[in-house]
Amino acid sequence: MKIIYFDNAATTPTRTEVVKAMAPFWTDNYGNPGSLHAKGFEARAALDKARETVARTLGASPSEILFTGSGTESVNLALFGFCRANRQKGNHIITQKTEHHAVLDSCKALEKEGFAVTYLDVDKQGLVSREALERAIRKETILVTIMYANNEIGTVQSIQELASVARAHNVTFHTDACQAGGALDVDVRQLNADMMTLNGSKIYGPKGVGMLYVRAGIKLQPVIYGGGQEGGLRSGTENIAGIVGFATALSLAQKGREKESKRLAALRDYLISKVLKEIPRSYLNGHPTQRLPNNASFTILDVEGESMILRLSEKGICASTGSACTSRSLEPSHVLQAIGLPKEVAHGSLRFSLGKSSTKTDADYTVKTLKGIVEELRKISPIRINESVMRGR
């Protein structure tokens, strides 16, 4: 059976060029960049080169780039590292309700360390308002952390604008850009970001590599202690193969970005309009235009998400849902609740995230298949949700 992989927001396949670039660092070039001999020098050179590539791609300088083990780790380093090191300046953090759990759970833990956190509301489409951020900033505020693009509903925040608000108040601004790395402009000078998180597994790079951009002059306290790698901020022998893979993936993604994003956005819009047309009682989640080029997220009334994705999987289609049944909490996704979807409809969410290999044929097959599945599950379902709960969507 042909597999249609519409779950690129979960993770992307690793591109061939990336695998090729990584390969020597598992075999021939196995050295530790900390060693003072030929094998070490070789590894050190590769590490430096990767750092330069990443810095150039992001409009940063190499000394501002830290490599970590994941996007989550980068977020943890940005949040814990910054707050613990800058506590004397204040104890207030601002974030927003649709952040990834890497941010939200770190904030919860920081609350236990005595920090106060404001979780800004978003509107029905998932956007944070500039005014709300402005109002929330107080003299104790030291950090604002707002994601670039949402992983579930695809909404893209006006990061440049939000970062400028923070900067105007002399507050440090971090953005979790994991979903944006392959699709949007991630030039830190353009974005006005002081810190930015990216990871390899969403940009056709390897899993197990994250990156944190930290603007020169920003002080962090390490979260992981040891041999003092990454300027003492992230100890542990560098994952050279992974880092080389990440740098290759980021640079390729950004080089081809405009063309690919345009192609994906057109395909996304085709898929969205087709789903909304073909499947009765279906709605788009997130912002209609200010959204990731590869994200199509829906609410489908009267059916439950896990049932939909498992039946889609039987037909070769890989998708995802924010239904409680796929979470540990038994609660539907916090993102869907934050945009105001009542729980009974949040259970029926369905996300398709397109990728490099996605085609119009895939979209056609998916809509046709989904239509049959929804019809069948609706026949089994005893409920019929009143459409008035979706008013204005």
């Binding site: 049932s307 038994l330 379902s381 409920i383």
Partner: protein, 151 residues
């Protein structure tokens, strides 16, 4: 200042049971080809008992219809809104219940249903196996009607 900071609450090493996909082949079979479900509710008008449990907000709703003959369940039909294990467990229950004496059907537990399915992830048993309650509600409805106290 850093030394003033208390570390977050410690957690012991444990494996969270979040493996929603750990379904058995029997679950899969009943999920993909559910038995005894009601396509057209109108056809169930003459049922002897009906019961509904769960709530859309919690993500699971089950409705069950029974026909009773000689103190035994002659027919057991259902509709379910919910995840794969909710659908599969209701389907399985409907096959278990047919031919059972009412008093025995009342004793069916979620654990027994899960066993017949070859097992379910533990969190799924709590949240999605509500069929036994729906069946109980349907039997109670039947008893109430029999005694002239139809709702």
């Amino acid at each position: 200042m850093a030394q003033d900071i208390k570390p977050p609450k410690a957690a012991s090493v444990k494996r969270e049971n979040n493996q929603c996909w750990a379904y058995t082949d029997i679950v899969k079979e009943h999920f993909l080809k559910p038995r005894n479900f009601v396509r057209d509710e109108k056809k169930m008008k003459g049922a002897d008992g009906v019961g509904t449990v769960g709530s859309p907000a919690c993500g699971d709703v089950m409705k069950m219809w029974i026909r009773v003959k000689d103190g035994k369940i002659a027919e057991c039909k259902w509709q379910t809104f919910g995840c794969a294990s909710a659908i599969a467990s209701t389907s399985m229950l409907s096959t278990m219940a047919v031919g059972m004496k009412l008093e025995d059907a009342l004793k069916i537990t979620p654990k027994q249903i899960a066993e017949r399915l070859g097992g379910l992830p533990s969190m799924k048993i709590h949240c999605s196996v509500l069929g036994d309650q729906a069946l109980r509600a349907a039997i109670e409805d039947y008893e109430a009607r029999k005694h002239g106290k139809a709702k």
